[in-house]
């Protein structure tokens, strides 16, 4: 056995032993100081061997965020991206293979029902009281947030840590910690459409025949369609997020009619397809996601995200919210690490990161700390940008003076008319949606 204090070429000086000692001292110092406002708060030595597996969709579970968390917290964070469908299936059929599950409201409902998540103690979430009340109380400035579909508030509370049913009302146990959300509407080319779009019915306007598009996800596409038909005054839905068979039939039959009349150029499946369709002028108006609008604008092509504020009980945005759920099998040190991780998430770095995509953080007060005042003014307050705005990776996106579509986040969020959902008649809806696809 070689003398460990001598390296293979006989150099003396820094021996392996002293190197290890020095490293341990440095780690201890780092643990004591923390790199962000007091993280980690539990002794780094205890948790440094832990690995948290965070699984979810690519626009919510971003590798860059995981890397930063690992850096600040001292333990390993593995982000795995799957699409929405694969993710929920994984949580339910292989719950032991995931630690932190990325859950939309309706997925939280499902996960609770299947008993794969554990209740999160609201007390242990540091920033809980700073969460926007739309999540914690279902209202903002006294106005109740619409609950068509499954709203994040509705999906938030359970009575006991192992309950399988959601609880209507505030309790101390959560199904998930909301971490990113947005309000979706229509994207359009202001130069090719010719007027400002504020109503969903423009998407099905025969004037844009062959130049419109919706997306190919049944549960979301059908709600976008519902918003269009309601806006055009063709039908009034009881709950766009939970339609009856008759409402589904009406919606799909109308969609088939529109398809046969040639209204839709395509139903897009991938993000970049939606960007492409708009940027190439193949469509002038379509269901779109916020970062896609931004991506079109980066190409110096005008694209606006329509501010479809509610009026006359019609219109409104379609909202969604993703949160972090704790899988049931987490205990002991790993559970402590998971709480650390969630608290880090809400402490602002992540909030600022997602804001630059055009998404929102549920805790704007902490996100604000990590954004420049100019950025915050642009993204959250809906005021003209005092200086050029960049995307999360530093690529310049908007020139100074541009106003964010839809105004301030308060404007947008209070105008959400329905939330992403899982309907009772989901199987029937899938069937009819496929009828639309083969038409």
């Amino acid at each position: 056995m070689k003398d460990p204090t001598r390296s293979s070429n006989g150099k003396r000086g820094l021996s392996r032993r002293s190197l290890l000692k020095g490293a341990a001292a440095a780690a201890g110092a780092a643990a004591g100081s923390g790199t962000i406002a007091g993280f980690p708060t539990i002794w780094a030595q205890e948790i440094k061997d832990i690995e948290l597996r965070h699984v979810g969709v690519s626009y919510s579970v971003v590798k860059a965020i995981g890397d930063q968390a690992a850096k600040d917290l001292g333990f390993k964070v593995t982000m795995q991206n799957l699409d929405t469908s694969a993710a929920i299936n994984r949580f339910i059929t292989q719950p032991n293979s995931v630690d932190i599950a990325d859950l939309e409201g309706w997925q939280a409902k499902l996960a609770a029902k299947r008993g794969v998540i554990q209740g999160i103690q609201a007390k242990k979430i540091k920033e809980f009281d700073n969460f926007l009340p739309i999540f914690t109380k279902g209202e903002l400035d006294g106005k109740k947030i619409p609950r068509q579909g499954i709203s994040p508030y509705e999906a938030l509370y359970i009575e006991k840590p192992d309950s399988t049913e959601l609880h209507d009302g505030v309790t101390e146990w959560l199904t998930n910690v909301p971490q990113v959300y947005n309000a979706d509407s229509i994207g359009y080319r202001p130069d090719l459409v010719g007027h400002t779009v504020t109503e969903w019915k423009d998407l099905i306007d025969p004037k844009f025949k062959g130049k419109a598009a919706i997306l190919d996800v049944p549960a979301i596409g059908i709600m976008d369609a519902a918003l269009c038909f309601e806006s055009a005054g063709l039908i009034k839905y009881g709950n766009k997020g939970n339609m009856t068979k008759k409402e589904i039939d009406f919606t799909c039959d109308k969609l088939i009619e529109l398809k046969k009349a040639g209204q839709f150029r395509a139903t897009w499946t991938t993000f970049d397809q939606s960007v492409q369709l708009m940027a190439a002028g193949e469509v002038v108006i379509q269901s779109m996601w916020s970062p896609a609008v931004a991506a079109v604008r980066v190409k110096q092509i005008p694209c606006t995200y329509a501010p479809v504020n509610m009026k006359d009980g019609k219109e409104g945005y379609r909202g969604w919210c993703n949160g972090m759920g704790l899988m049931k099998h987490l205990t002991g040190k790993k559970l402590d690490a998971a709480y650390e991780y969630m608290n880090w998430y809400m402490s602002g770095w992540q909030g600022a990161f997602v804001s630059r995509y055009g998404y929102y953080s549920p805790v704007p007060s902490t996100a604000k700390k990590f954004m420049t005042p100019a950025e915050y003014t642009f993204w959250y307050e809906g005021k003209p940008a005092p200086e050029p705005v960049t995307d999360p990776y530093g690529v310049p996106m908007e020139v100074a003076g541009t106003v964010r579509d839809g105004g301030s986040f308060v404007d947008r969020v209070t105008n959400i008319s329905c939330w992403n959902t899982l309907m009772d008649e989901a199987a029937y809806m899938n069937k009819r949606w496929n009828d639309f696809k083969v038409a």
């Binding site: 469908s85 029902k113 049944p218 150029r265 991938t270 492409q276 496929n434």
Partner: protein, 287 residues
């Protein structure tokens, strides 16, 4: 032989069974069981015995439409890959003189497959799109005045993508069959005064039958079992059988998806048996 024949057979087949049992037999049993259960709407399975799922699948017009779409793509893909594959294999076997060159040409055909299928799927857009290479080239040459829209997000695009991806699966088995053909037989036919067409009809095609059958099985299985190419390349204007149960799985409708999957498996098994009945591949090697 001190070891009995059947035992040797089983010894050799055991690794295959070692994979098939846990990764096909057991899971397909799980799926079969799930297909006769009911769902509580939230991904839970209620153990009962009901044929309602099968009834729904087999009696709905949607199923017929979906199979029609998928079979349409399968037949078109099969036809084009067969024609292309057959003549390319013929070229490589009979017209290329140096085997090294044949191998080299063949390997050149395989290089694109080192790039993941999904990347090539994405790259169809810059090739076939309105602002893509082909449209730009045609416009610049003055052959068209407006970009062709049918190139992308259409049935044409779906078939092109499939043929692009699957011709190699036809070339390899047919090449293998053709390479077996004893050139002396052909020489004899030539000496006897046979025309090129006769040689093709009476010698080459019959002797390549097993290669063609194999290639057809491969192409048909892959296209019928795929959802992703149709979804992306058709721009959502077409649906596919597997695409439909992908969506059912997205909302955790396991029994319905399971029933559809079993139906598809049975149909494909029947199809493959039909092909194998015309060309008994197994007989070719058993003694």
């Amino acid at each position: 032989m001190t070891v009995s024949r059947p035992l040797v057979g089983w010894l050799y087949i055991s690794p295959l069974m070692l994979v098939l049992i846990p990764f096909f037999v057991l899971p397909i049993l799980v799926v079969m069981v799930a297909s006769v259960f009911e769902t509580d709407g939230f991904g839970g399975l209620i153990p009962t015995f009901t044929l309602a799922n099968y009834r729904n699948v087999l009696t709905s017009a949607l199923t017929f439409n979906l199979y029609y779409e998928t079979v349409k793509f399968t037949v078109l893909t099969w036809f084009f890959t067969l024609v292309l594959g057959f003549f390319i294999a013929y070229f490589l076997v009979f017209h290329v003189r140096s085997p090294l060159l044949a191998i080299g040409l063949f390997l050149i055909c395989t290089v694109p497959f080192w790039t993941s299928n999904i990347i090539r799927m994405i790259s169809w857009i810059p090739l076939l799109g309105k602002e893509g290479l082909i449209n730009s080239a045609l416009l610049r040459l003055g052959l068209i005045h407006e970009p062709l829209t049918f190139l992308l997000y259409s049935s044409f695009a779906v078939v092109v993508a499939y043929v692009h991806q699957l011709t190699i699966f036809m070339i390899v088995p047919i090449f293998n069959s053709m390479a077996r053909i004893d050139k002396r037989v052909v020489e004899a036919a030539v000496d006897a005064g046979a025309s090129r067409l006769d040689i093709m009809r009476l010698i080459v095609v019959p002797l390549s039958k097993s290669g063609i059958a194999l290639g057809s099985i491969f192409v048909a299985s892959i296209v019928m079992g795929d959802f992703f190419v149709t979804k992306v390349m058709s721009g959502g204007s077409s649906a596919s059988v597997v695409g439909a149960f992908y969506e059912d799985i997205s909302v955790l409708q396991y029994p319905g998806a399971a029933a559809s999957a079993i139906v598809l498996t049975v149909i494909l098994l029947a199809m493959v048996s039909l092909i194998l009945r015309t060309v008994d591949i197994r007989k070719e090697i058993t003694q």
